[in-house]
Amino acid sequence: MISRRVVILNGIVLLILLAATAAFARVDLGVWNTPIAMAIAVAKAVLVILFFMEVKVSPKLIWLTAAMGFFWLAILALGVWTDVMTRVAIFPR
Protein backbone atom coordinates (compact mmCIF):
# COMPACT_ATOMS: atom_id res chain seq x y z
CA MET A 1 0.00 0.00 0.00
CA ILE A 2 1.20 3.51 -0.75
CA SER A 3 1.25 5.73 2.31
CA ARG A 4 -0.57 9.05 2.48
CA ARG A 5 2.72 10.88 2.79
CA VAL A 6 3.97 9.42 -0.48
CA VAL A 7 0.73 10.32 -2.25
CA ILE A 8 0.91 13.95 -1.18
CA LEU A 9 4.62 14.16 -1.95
CA ASN A 10 3.92 12.73 -5.40
CA GLY A 11 1.28 15.39 -5.96
CA ILE A 12 3.71 18.14 -5.03
CA VAL A 13 6.43 16.77 -7.29
CA LEU A 14 3.94 16.58 -10.16
CA LEU A 15 3.01 20.24 -9.71
CA ILE A 16 6.69 21.20 -9.64
CA LEU A 17 7.20 19.31 -12.90
CA LEU A 18 4.22 21.15 -14.35
CA ALA A 19 5.73 24.49 -13.38
CA ALA A 20 8.99 23.42 -14.96
CA THR A 21 7.47 22.39 -18.26
CA ALA A 22 5.35 25.52 -18.40
CA ALA A 23 8.42 27.66 -17.74
CA PHE A 24 10.59 25.87 -20.29
CA ALA A 25 7.93 26.46 -22.92
CA ARG A 26 8.32 30.21 -22.47
CA VAL A 27 12.02 30.06 -23.30
CA ASP A 28 13.20 29.49 -26.84
CA LEU A 29 15.57 26.53 -26.73
CA GLY A 30 15.33 25.67 -30.42
CA VAL A 31 15.19 21.95 -31.09
CA TRP A 32 15.37 21.14 -27.38
CA ASN A 33 11.94 22.50 -26.50
CA THR A 34 10.14 19.41 -27.71
CA PRO A 35 12.36 16.71 -26.16
CA ILE A 36 12.35 18.50 -22.80
CA ALA A 37 8.57 18.85 -22.81
CA MET A 38 8.16 15.20 -23.76
CA ALA A 39 10.65 14.03 -21.14
CA ILE A 40 8.84 15.93 -18.41
CA ALA A 41 5.49 14.54 -19.61
CA VAL A 42 6.88 11.01 -19.49
CA ALA A 43 8.23 11.63 -16.01
CA LYS A 44 4.84 12.85 -14.82
CA ALA A 45 3.10 9.85 -16.36
CA VAL A 46 5.54 7.43 -14.76
CA LEU A 47 5.04 9.03 -11.34
CA VAL A 48 1.25 8.78 -11.69
CA ILE A 49 1.51 5.16 -12.76
CA LEU A 50 3.95 4.11 -10.06
CA PHE A 51 2.48 5.91 -7.07
CA PHE A 52 -1.10 6.93 -7.76
CA MET A 53 -1.96 3.77 -9.67
CA GLU A 54 0.09 1.78 -7.16
CA VAL A 55 1.97 -0.15 -9.84
CA LYS A 56 5.11 0.03 -7.70
CA VAL A 57 3.47 -2.22 -5.08
CA SER A 58 1.42 -4.33 -7.49
CA PRO A 59 2.17 -7.82 -8.82
CA LYS A 60 4.59 -8.10 -11.75
CA LEU A 61 1.72 -8.97 -14.07
CA ILE A 62 0.19 -5.52 -13.61
CA TRP A 63 3.48 -3.83 -14.36
CA LEU A 64 3.88 -5.99 -17.45
CA THR A 65 0.36 -5.19 -18.66
CA ALA A 66 0.92 -1.46 -18.32
CA ALA A 67 4.29 -1.66 -20.08
CA MET A 68 2.84 -3.74 -22.91
CA GLY A 69 0.23 -1.11 -23.70
CA PHE A 70 2.74 1.69 -24.09
CA PHE A 71 5.22 -0.53 -25.88
CA TRP A 72 2.62 -1.52 -28.46
CA LEU A 73 1.71 2.11 -29.03
CA ALA A 74 5.39 2.76 -29.61
CA ILE A 75 5.39 0.07 -32.32
CA LEU A 76 2.51 1.80 -34.09
CA ALA A 77 3.93 5.30 -33.77
CA LEU A 78 7.43 4.27 -34.80
CA GLY A 79 6.20 2.25 -37.76
CA VAL A 80 4.20 5.16 -39.13
CA TRP A 81 6.82 7.77 -38.34
CA THR A 82 9.71 5.88 -39.97
CA ASP A 83 7.65 5.44 -43.11
CA VAL A 84 6.85 9.14 -43.26
CA MET A 85 10.46 10.12 -42.65
CA THR A 86 11.89 7.86 -45.35
CA ARG A 87 9.53 8.47 -48.24
CA VAL A 88 11.71 9.54 -51.14
CA ALA A 89 10.89 9.81 -54.79
CA ILE A 90 12.26 6.66 -56.43
CA PHE A 91 12.13 8.16 -59.88
CA PRO A 92 13.51 11.64 -60.48
CA ARG A 93 10.81 14.21 -61.10
Binding site: M1, S3, R26, A37, K44, G69, W81
Partner: protein, 213 residues
Protein backbone atom coordinates in the same frame (compact mmCIF):
# COMPACT_ATOMS: atom_id res chain seq x y z
CA UNK B 1 -20.70 -8.31 -7.88
CA UNK B 2 -22.94 -7.64 -4.92
CA UNK B 3 -21.93 -5.51 -1.94
CA UNK B 4 -19.09 -7.18 -0.09
CA UNK B 5 -19.96 -10.69 -1.26
CA UNK B 6 -17.79 -12.74 -3.56
CA UNK B 7 -19.34 -13.43 -6.98
CA UNK B 8 -20.07 -17.10 -7.69
CA UNK B 9 -17.39 -17.59 -10.34
CA UNK B 10 -14.65 -16.66 -7.88
CA UNK B 11 -13.29 -18.82 -5.08
CA UNK B 12 -12.54 -16.00 -2.65
CA UNK B 13 -12.42 -12.23 -2.30
CA UNK B 14 -8.71 -12.06 -3.05
CA UNK B 15 -9.18 -13.77 -6.42
CA UNK B 16 -12.03 -11.38 -7.20
CA UNK B 17 -9.97 -8.32 -6.28
CA UNK B 18 -7.03 -9.48 -8.37
CA UNK B 19 -9.30 -10.21 -11.32
CA UNK B 20 -10.95 -6.79 -11.03
CA UNK B 21 -7.63 -5.02 -10.96
CA UNK B 22 -6.17 -6.97 -13.89
CA UNK B 23 -9.40 -6.46 -15.83
CA UNK B 24 -9.28 -2.70 -15.38
CA UNK B 25 -5.63 -2.59 -16.42
CA UNK B 26 -6.36 -4.59 -19.57
CA UNK B 27 -9.17 -2.14 -20.32
CA UNK B 28 -6.78 0.77 -19.76
CA UNK B 29 -4.32 -0.55 -22.27
CA UNK B 30 -7.12 -0.67 -24.83
CA UNK B 31 -7.59 3.01 -24.04
CA UNK B 32 -3.84 3.61 -24.49
CA UNK B 33 -4.09 2.17 -27.98
CA UNK B 34 -7.35 4.04 -28.63
CA UNK B 35 -5.89 7.46 -27.83
CA UNK B 36 -2.62 6.25 -29.26
CA UNK B 37 -4.04 6.09 -32.77
CA UNK B 38 -4.71 9.81 -32.59
CA UNK B 39 -1.29 10.52 -31.09
CA UNK B 40 0.29 8.56 -33.94
CA UNK B 41 -1.52 10.69 -36.49
CA UNK B 42 -0.57 13.81 -34.56
CA UNK B 43 3.11 12.79 -34.52
CA UNK B 44 3.13 12.38 -38.30
CA UNK B 45 1.56 15.75 -38.93
CA UNK B 46 3.64 17.62 -36.39
CA UNK B 47 6.73 16.18 -38.08
CA UNK B 48 5.75 17.31 -41.55
CA UNK B 49 4.13 20.63 -40.64
CA UNK B 50 6.29 22.06 -37.83
CA UNK B 51 5.75 25.75 -38.55
CA UNK B 52 2.01 25.46 -39.00
CA UNK B 53 1.62 23.56 -35.73
CA UNK B 54 3.75 26.14 -33.98
CA UNK B 55 1.62 29.02 -35.22
CA UNK B 56 -1.57 27.17 -34.41
CA UNK B 57 -0.44 26.41 -30.86
CA UNK B 58 -0.18 30.11 -30.16
CA UNK B 59 -3.91 30.41 -30.75
CA UNK B 60 -4.57 28.28 -27.70
CA UNK B 61 -4.74 29.81 -24.25
CA UNK B 62 -1.49 28.83 -22.50
CA UNK B 63 -2.73 29.80 -19.05
CA UNK B 64 -6.01 27.94 -19.33
CA UNK B 65 -4.13 24.84 -20.44
CA UNK B 66 -1.67 25.11 -17.56
CA UNK B 67 -4.39 25.72 -14.99
CA UNK B 68 -6.32 22.74 -16.34
CA UNK B 69 -3.27 20.54 -16.03
CA UNK B 70 -2.83 21.65 -12.43
CA UNK B 71 -6.48 20.91 -11.68
CA UNK B 72 -6.14 17.40 -13.05
CA UNK B 73 -2.88 16.61 -11.28
CA UNK B 74 -4.37 17.69 -7.96
CA UNK B 75 -7.52 15.69 -8.72
CA UNK B 76 -5.37 12.60 -9.23
CA UNK B 77 -3.84 13.24 -5.83
CA UNK B 78 -7.24 13.61 -4.18
CA UNK B 79 -8.45 10.44 -5.93
CA UNK B 80 -5.42 8.54 -4.64
CA UNK B 81 -6.15 9.88 -1.16
CA UNK B 82 -9.77 8.76 -1.48
CA UNK B 83 -8.63 5.25 -2.41
CA UNK B 84 -6.15 5.34 0.46
CA UNK B 85 -8.94 6.22 2.87
CA UNK B 86 -11.23 3.51 1.52
CA UNK B 87 -8.53 0.86 1.87
CA UNK B 88 -8.33 1.72 5.56
CA UNK B 89 -12.06 1.84 6.07
CA UNK B 90 -12.15 5.61 6.66
CA UNK B 91 -15.52 6.31 5.08
CA UNK B 92 -15.82 10.09 5.61
CA UNK B 93 -12.25 10.91 4.60
CA UNK B 94 -12.70 8.84 1.49
CA UNK B 95 -15.99 10.58 0.70
CA UNK B 96 -14.44 14.00 1.23
CA UNK B 97 -11.61 13.31 -1.20
CA UNK B 98 -13.98 11.79 -3.74
CA UNK B 99 -16.01 14.98 -3.55
CA UNK B 100 -12.86 17.08 -4.09
CA UNK B 101 -12.01 14.95 -7.11
CA UNK B 102 -15.44 15.54 -8.61
CA UNK B 103 -15.20 19.28 -8.04
CA UNK B 104 -11.76 19.48 -9.62
CA UNK B 105 -12.95 17.37 -12.54
CA UNK B 106 -15.94 19.61 -13.09
CA UNK B 107 -13.64 22.59 -12.88
CA UNK B 108 -11.51 21.12 -15.64
CA UNK B 109 -14.55 20.55 -17.82
CA UNK B 110 -15.76 24.06 -17.14
CA UNK B 111 -12.49 25.59 -18.27
CA UNK B 112 -12.50 23.35 -21.32
CA UNK B 113 -15.93 24.43 -22.42
CA UNK B 114 -15.05 28.06 -21.84
CA UNK B 115 -12.06 27.54 -24.14
CA UNK B 116 -14.21 25.85 -26.75
CA UNK B 117 -16.66 28.74 -26.68
CA UNK B 118 -13.78 31.12 -27.22
CA UNK B 119 -12.55 29.13 -30.19
CA UNK B 120 -16.01 29.10 -31.71
CA UNK B 121 -16.18 32.88 -31.37
CA UNK B 122 -12.76 33.30 -32.92
CA UNK B 123 -13.75 31.14 -35.89
CA UNK B 124 -11.21 28.43 -35.19
CA UNK B 125 -13.53 25.46 -35.51
CA UNK B 126 -12.52 23.41 -38.58
CA UNK B 127 -14.96 22.98 -41.37
CA UNK B 128 -17.20 25.60 -42.81
CA UNK B 129 -16.84 28.08 -39.94
CA UNK B 130 -13.06 28.29 -40.09
CA UNK B 131 -11.98 31.93 -40.34
CA UNK B 132 -8.22 31.97 -39.83
CA UNK B 133 -6.57 33.40 -42.92
CA UNK B 134 -2.93 33.73 -41.96
CA UNK B 135 0.08 31.67 -43.12
CA UNK B 136 -0.38 27.88 -43.36
CA UNK B 137 -4.12 28.33 -42.94
CA UNK B 138 -4.92 24.81 -44.16
CA UNK B 139 -2.44 23.11 -41.86
CA UNK B 140 -3.54 25.27 -38.94
CA UNK B 141 -7.03 23.97 -39.61
CA UNK B 142 -5.59 20.44 -39.48
CA UNK B 143 -4.05 21.25 -36.09
CA UNK B 144 -7.38 22.54 -34.84
CA UNK B 145 -9.05 19.38 -36.09
CA UNK B 146 -6.74 17.33 -33.93
CA UNK B 147 -7.16 19.73 -31.03
CA UNK B 148 -10.92 19.36 -31.01
CA UNK B 149 -10.83 15.64 -31.74
CA UNK B 150 -8.28 14.75 -29.06
CA UNK B 151 -9.31 17.14 -26.30
CA UNK B 152 -12.93 16.38 -27.12
CA UNK B 153 -12.37 12.66 -26.78
CA UNK B 154 -10.50 13.36 -23.56
CA UNK B 155 -13.34 15.53 -22.26
CA UNK B 156 -15.78 12.73 -23.03
CA UNK B 157 -13.66 10.35 -20.95
CA UNK B 158 -13.44 12.97 -18.19
CA UNK B 159 -17.21 13.25 -18.14
CA UNK B 160 -17.55 9.49 -17.83
CA UNK B 161 -14.92 9.63 -15.10
CA UNK B 162 -16.83 12.28 -13.17
CA UNK B 163 -19.97 10.13 -13.39
CA UNK B 164 -18.09 7.04 -12.20
CA UNK B 165 -16.52 8.89 -9.26
CA UNK B 166 -19.93 10.29 -8.36
CA UNK B 167 -21.28 6.75 -8.22
CA UNK B 168 -18.33 5.82 -6.01
CA UNK B 169 -19.16 8.73 -3.72
CA UNK B 170 -22.75 7.54 -3.43
CA UNK B 171 -21.60 3.99 -2.71
CA UNK B 172 -19.21 5.27 -0.05
CA UNK B 173 -21.87 7.42 1.60
CA UNK B 174 -24.21 4.43 1.61
CA UNK B 175 -21.60 2.42 3.47
CA UNK B 176 -21.12 -0.13 0.72
CA UNK B 177 -17.35 0.43 0.57
CA UNK B 178 -15.49 -1.08 3.50
CA UNK B 179 -11.99 -1.94 4.59
CA UNK B 180 -12.67 -5.45 3.28
CA UNK B 181 -14.54 -4.60 0.09
CA UNK B 182 -13.16 -1.51 -1.67
CA UNK B 183 -12.34 -2.88 -5.10
CA UNK B 184 -14.75 -0.55 -6.99
CA UNK B 185 -12.96 2.54 -5.70
CA UNK B 186 -9.56 1.14 -6.61
CA UNK B 187 -10.57 0.45 -10.18
CA UNK B 188 -12.42 3.77 -10.48
CA UNK B 189 -9.19 5.39 -9.33
CA UNK B 190 -7.21 3.57 -12.01
CA UNK B 191 -9.55 4.93 -14.66
CA UNK B 192 -9.31 8.46 -13.31
CA UNK B 193 -5.52 8.40 -13.22
CA UNK B 194 -5.42 7.12 -16.76
CA UNK B 195 -7.55 10.01 -18.03
CA UNK B 196 -5.13 12.31 -16.20
CA UNK B 197 -2.17 10.69 -17.98
CA UNK B 198 -3.78 11.30 -21.36
CA UNK B 199 -4.04 14.99 -20.50
CA UNK B 200 -0.42 15.02 -19.28
CA UNK B 201 0.53 14.28 -22.88
CA UNK B 202 -2.14 16.39 -24.54
CA UNK B 203 -1.00 19.53 -22.71
CA UNK B 204 2.52 19.79 -24.17
CA UNK B 205 1.34 18.49 -27.55
CA UNK B 206 -1.13 21.30 -28.02
CA UNK B 207 -0.27 24.15 -25.68
CA UNK B 208 3.50 24.12 -25.46
CA UNK B 209 4.82 23.97 -28.99
CA UNK B 210 6.41 26.87 -30.73
CA UNK B 211 8.18 28.51 -27.82
CA UNK B 212 7.24 31.96 -26.60
CA UNK B 213 4.86 34.02 -28.71
Amino acid sequence: MRDGVVAHQFDDLEQQNEADRLGMWVFLITEVLFFGGMFTAYIEYRTIHPQAFSIASHHLDYWMGTINTALLLVSSMTMALAVHGAQRGKRWISALFLFCTIVLGLGFLGVKFWEYAKHINEGLVPGRGFKYMGPYAREVELFMSFYFLMTGMHALHMTIGVCVVTVMLLLTLAGKITRVYHSPIVIAGLYWHFVDIVWIFLYPCFYLIGGPK
